[in-house]
C-alpha cells in the first residue's frame, strides 16, 4: 500500500467554489439542467448525441472555471466498470441489425453493430459521470437542499415529506467526502500499527476479514458523527421545515433563462440524434436497411 491518499481520485461530490456564472445560477435551474441531461442520456442511445453532450459538458466546465483534468480524473475509478460493460456487450449481446458479421463461433457473434453499441454504452456512462460531477462541482450542499425542496414543494401539499427528503439527501452527499477522509485516516492509522489490507491473490473471505480494522471504526465513526449532528441540530432548535425562513434567498435571473434554453436545445439535439437514427452513418453497409 504505497499510496494512501484516497481523496485525490474521489472527485464526484466535491464542491469547487470558483464563483463563476454557472455557480451563481439559481439552484433549481442547476437541478433542472442536471436532471434533463441525465434523463436525455438515459433515453438516448445515440453515440453522436453523447459525443455532443461530452463536448457540451466540457464547454460548461470551462465556463464554470473548473480544471478539465480534475473533472476527467473522476472517471478513473469507473474505467474498470466501463471496460467490463463494453466487453460483455461486444462478446455476448448480439445486435439483430448489427451489420457485417466480423467473427462467429460458439455462442459468440461479433458484429460491427456490437462495437457501435459498446461504444455507445461506454460513452453514455462517461456522460452520466461527467454530468453528475459537474453538477456537484458547482452546487453547494446548501443550494442542493434549497433546490430539492423547491422542486418537491408541490408534492408537499399531498403530505409528501419534501423538506425531510431534501435534508436526508444533503446529509448523505455531504458525508461522502468526510467518509473518504475518515477512511484515509484510518487506513494510515491501522497500517502504522502493522495492518495489512491484503493482496489481490487472497481469497474473498480473507480479504473481507482483513478489512475489519478499517470497517469497524469507520462504522463507529459514522454513527458518532450522526449522533453529533443530531445534537448540534437540536441545540440550534431545529424542528423541521415548518415555518423556517432563509437567510439567503435565490432569485431567477436572465442567466437562468439562457441556461435552461441552452440545455433544452442540447437535449433536443441529443434526442433528435437518437430518434432520427443518425448513428447509422457510423455503420459500414447495414444489411438490415
Amino acid at each position: 500500500m504505497r499510496n494512501t491518499e484516497f481523496l485525490r481520485n474521489v472527485t464526484i461530490g466535491q464542491y469547487l467554489p470558483t464563483d463563476s456564472p454557472v455557480h451563481r445560477l439559481h439552484p433549481t435551474t442547476k437541478m433542472l439542467m442536471g436532471g434533463f441531461c441525465v434523463v436525455a442520456a438515459i433515453i438516448s442511445g445515440s453515440l453522436g448525441g453523447f459525443v455532443i453532450m461530452v463536448l457540451a459538458v466540457t464547454a460548461a466546465l470551462r465556463l464554470a472555471r473548473i480544471p478539465l483534468l480534475y473533472a476527467y480524473r473522476g472517471l478513473r475509478p469507473a474505467v474498470p466498470i466501463i471496460v467490463l460493460v463494453a466487453a460483455l456487450q461486444i462478446l455476448f449481446a448480439s445486435q439483430s441489425d448489427g451489420g457485417a458479421v466480423l467473427w462467429s463461433g460458439w455462442i459468440i457473434t461479433i458484429t460491427a453493430g456490437d462495437f457501435l453499441v459498446a461504444a455507445t454504452m461506454a460513452v453514455r456512462l462517461v456522460v452520466l459521470i461527467l454530468i453528475i460531477s459537474f453538477f456537484t462541482f458547482c452546487t453547494s450542499a446548501k443550494e442542493l437542499t434549497h433546490g430539492t425542496e423547491q422542486l418537491l414543494r408541490p408534492l408537499g401539499r399531498i403530505g409528501f415529506p419534501a423538506h425531510e427528503l431534501a435534508l436526508v439527501l444533503t446529509i448523505a452527499l455531504r458525508f461522502l467526502p468526510l467518509l473518504a477522509m475518515e477512511a484515509e485516516r484510518l487506513v494510515k492509522a491501522q497500517v502504522s500499527r502493522g495492518a495489512d489490507f491484503g493482496k489481490r491473490r487472497m481469497g474473498l473471505f480473507k480479504r473481507v476479514y482483513r478489512m475489519f480494522p478499517l470497517l469497524v471504526p469507520l462504522f463507529l465513526a459514522s454513527l458518532r458523527r450522526g449522533e453529533h449532528l443530531v445534537l448540534a441540530m437540536e441545540a440550534r432548535c431545529y424542528t423541521g421545515g415548518k415555518g423556517r425562513t432563509r437567510l439567503v434567498r435565490f432569485r431567477f435571473g436572465p442567466a437562468d433563462g439562457a441556461a435552461i434554453t441552452a440545455v433544452v436545445l442540447l437535449v433536443a439535439a441529443v434526442l433528435a440524434a437518437h430518434f432520427l437514427r443518425l448513428d447509422s452513418v457510423f455503420l459500414p453497409r447495414l444489411e438490415g436497411f
Binding site: T4, L7, R73, S192, G194, P213, P217
Partner: protein, 292 residues
C-alpha cells in the same frame, strides 16, 4: 547516542497534488533525529506537523527531497515500507477511534499477531506493551473495549503501537483532550519510555509537555522549519515563538516575567523544580537590581 536515525533533506510535499485543492504542506524541510533523542514538533494548526510525521514512517513517500529512516531511503522503490512502519511506530491523533476488537488484549495483540507472533511470545509482548502504556495486564486484557474510559482507550491505542516493538515512536498530539490525571499519567509513561532509550518524535500544542519531555524542538509554520534548537534555546525566544502564535511553558513565562522586573534569573526553566531553585537563588542572593 548521537547516531542519526531519521534524516530529512529538502523535503517538500503538496497535498492533493494536481487538484484545485492542492495545498503545499511542507516546504524544503531539513531535520535530523538522533538515536535516543526526543524531538518535539511545534507550530500552529495546519503548519505541517502531521504530514511531516507521516513522512517519517513511510505513509507518505517524498515527492521531492529525501527521507532516510534507519539508514534506508524511503524514496527507493526497493525499500520495504511495511518493515519501516513496524520499526517506526506512529500513534495517530485520537488513537482511541481506531479500536475495532472486542477485547483490550486482542486489540493490543493486533499488530504483533499480524507480524506473525503467536502463543506465549504474543502474550508476553502484549503484557509488556500494556504495562508500558500504563494498563495493568491482568486487569485489562479481558475488558471489553467499549467499556473503557476515554483515557484508557487512549492508552490502548498507545499500547497497540508499542506492541510492535518499534525502534522509533512517533506521536501525534498524544495528550490532547485528556483529563489532567490521565494527561499526567501518560506523560510519566512517555518519560519512562524515554528513560529506556526510545527515540521519540511528537507533534504537540502542549508546551508544558514539550518542556518536560523534549531534548530538541523544531518550530514549523506554513510547512517551513522556522527555527529549532534545544528546548532551552527555543523557549528563550519568547518573542519569536509569539510571532508564530506559540506560547512558552508556564515556568519559562515566569522566568521571563521576573527578568522583566529586574530579577536575576535564567531565561528558561524547564521544570517547576528548576524554576523553584532559580527563584530561591535569586531571593537568597537578593541579587535584585535597583530598577524596581
Amino acid at each position: 547516542m548521537s547516531r542519526p536515525v531519521i534524516e530529512i533533506q529538502d523535503l517538500s510535499h503538496v497535498y492533493m497534488a494536481g487538484t484545485p485543492q492542492a495545498k503545499t504542506s511542507l516546504r524544503e524541510v531539513n531535520l535530523t533525529v538522533e538515536e535516543g533523542a526526543v524531538l518535539a514538533l511545534i507550530g500552529p494548526t495546519g503548519s505541517g506537523k502531521s504530514t511531516l510525521l507521516q513522512h517519517m514512517n513511510g505513509l507518505y513517500t517524498p515527492q521531492s527531497g529525501s527521507v532516510i529512516v534507519l539508514g534506508r531511503d524511503l524514496a527507493d522503490r526497493v525499500t520495504d515500507l511495511r518493515r519501516i512502519r513496524r520499526e517506526v511506530g506512529l500513534v495517530f491523533q485520537n488513537p482511541e477511534h481506531q479500536i475495532f476488537e472486542r477485547y483490550v488484549g486482542d486489540e493490543v495483540a493486533f499488530g504483533p499477531r499480524t507480524a506473525g507472533l503467536s502463543g506465549g511470545e504474543l502474550t508476553r509482548r502484549v503484557r509488556w506493551a500494556m504495562e508500558l502504556a500504563g494498563l495493568d495486564f491482568s486487569l485489562f486484557k479481558d475488558r471489553p473495549t467499549f467499556a473503557l474510559s476515554g483515557g484508557e482507550r487512549r492508552k490502548v491505542g498507545l499500547a497497540g503501537v508499542i506492541a510492535l516493538k518499534p525502534r522509533i515512536l512517533l506521536l501525534d498530539e498524544p495528550t490532547s483532550g485528556l483529563d489532567p490525571q490521565t494527561h499526567e499519567e501518560l506523560l510519566c509513561r512517555m518519560e519512562s519510555l524515554r528513560g529506556q532509550g526510545m527515540t521519540m518524535v511528537m507533534a504537540t500544542h502542549d508546551m508544558d509537555d514539550v518542556a518536560r519531555l523534549a531534548d530538541r524542538i523544531v518550530v514549523l509554520d506554513g510547512g517551513r522549519v522556522v527555527f529549532g534548537g534545544t528546548s532551552r534555546e527555543v523557549f528563550a525566544r519568547r518573542e519569536a515563538l509569539g510571532a508564530h502564535g506559540l506560547e512558552v511553558p508556564v515556568t519559562v513565562a515566569l522566568m521571563q516575567r521576573l527578568r522583566e522586573r529586574g530579577w536575576d534569573v535564567p531565561r528558561a526553566a524547564l521544570s517547576v523544580e528548576e524554576a523553584e531553585e532559580a527563584v530561591a537563588a535569586a531571593l537568597t542572593g537578593s541579587r535584585r537590581r535597583p530598577t524596581g
